[in-house]
Amino acid sequence: MNSPIDTSGESALDGSAAAGPFADVFAGDVSAAVVTCGGCRSSAVFAEQHAYLGAPGTVLRCPGCDHVLARLVQTPTEVWLDLSGSSSWRFPL
């Protein structure tokens, strides 16, 4: 398994590195969901977005324009989810 902390400092992790905490909230795998960027309108599956973990929360960014697509923070009692930077999430059935 990858370390939960990106210590390379060079680049983002694949979106799939952030799939775990999002799956807990969406009650299912999010890797194949198509996320459309609210900044540049480009679309890519979740697994191909850029993830920053323990930063200290989890941040999903558009690989094209670095726009924040989503943030997720887990506290001891709650999960906070911010999808305001993405215009849509499409889940295959």
Binding site: I5, D6, T7, S8, G9, E10, S11, A12, H50, Y52, G54, A55, P56, G57, V59, R61, D66, V68, R71, V73, Q74, T75, P76, T77, E78, W80, D82
Partner: protein
């Protein structure tokens, strides 16, 4: 020189330091970032102080170098539970940037290249409690650790010490930054374990 070594005869190590609650020591320097590493050349860097009346004062890298810097050795505490002792920095006390300021606002939003923000009460930045640092361990601050210039506020959790610092905006009322509005504590005192909103 310490007379008692760690763990010897059950004696307490006289050099042992108390960490804030819930923290553990690290010898390394983990890189935590909410976005891509920003690569800003010193000649391209600037710092802008914007007052509540939208007056701006800007310092270039050369301006920064002409302000009196001091060496700082401080413990830093990350909300992800690592603490690093005696980290060595060099920089300008934040007080220097307010000497000619006519701002009367009590709150500051620190801004970074790349868009990160974090909010602080002004009083937490003054009186030698915070620095605009430009050296780490006797050299330039590596980009992944926020160079060329970052904020250093060692008495608060390290997310308040914004990397790639680009400016301060003065605010008459407090407003949350990137993490403060989103699950993390507004103030972030490690000694009171103010990690999350509501702590």
């Amino acid at each position: 020189m310490a007379i008692f070594t760690r763990g010897f005869g059950g004696r307490r190590d006289p050099d042992a330091v108390a960490l804030p609650p819930g923290q553990h020591l690290t010898e390394g320097f983990p890189v935590l970032s909410a976005g891509p590493t920003q690569y800003v050349e010193p000649e391209d860097w600037s710092f802008t102080l914007t007052t509540e009346t939208d007056e701006k004062q800007t310092w270039s890298w050369d301006d920064l170098m002409n302000l009196p810097s001091e060496d700082v050795e401080v413990d830093i505490h990350c909300v992800t539970r690592w603490s690093k002792l005696k980290s060595r920095w060099r920089g300008v006390p934040v007080d220097a940037f307010f000497e000619d300021s006519e701002s009367e606002a009590d709150y500051v939003m620190a801004h970074s290249y790349g868009g990160y923000t974090t909010n602080l009460p002004l009083e937490d930045l003054l009186d030698g409690k915070a620095w605009v640092v430009h050296e780490y361990d006797d050299g330039p601050i590596p980009a992944e650790h926020g160079g060329p210039v970052r904020l250093l506020v060692p008495h608060l959790y390290f997310w308040k010490s914004a990397k790639w610092l680009s400016g301060f905006t003065m605010m008459t009322g407090d407003e949350p930054g990137f993490w403060e509005g989103f699950g993390y504590h507004n103030y972030g005192d490690p000694w009171r374990e103010e990690r999350y909103a509501g702590d």
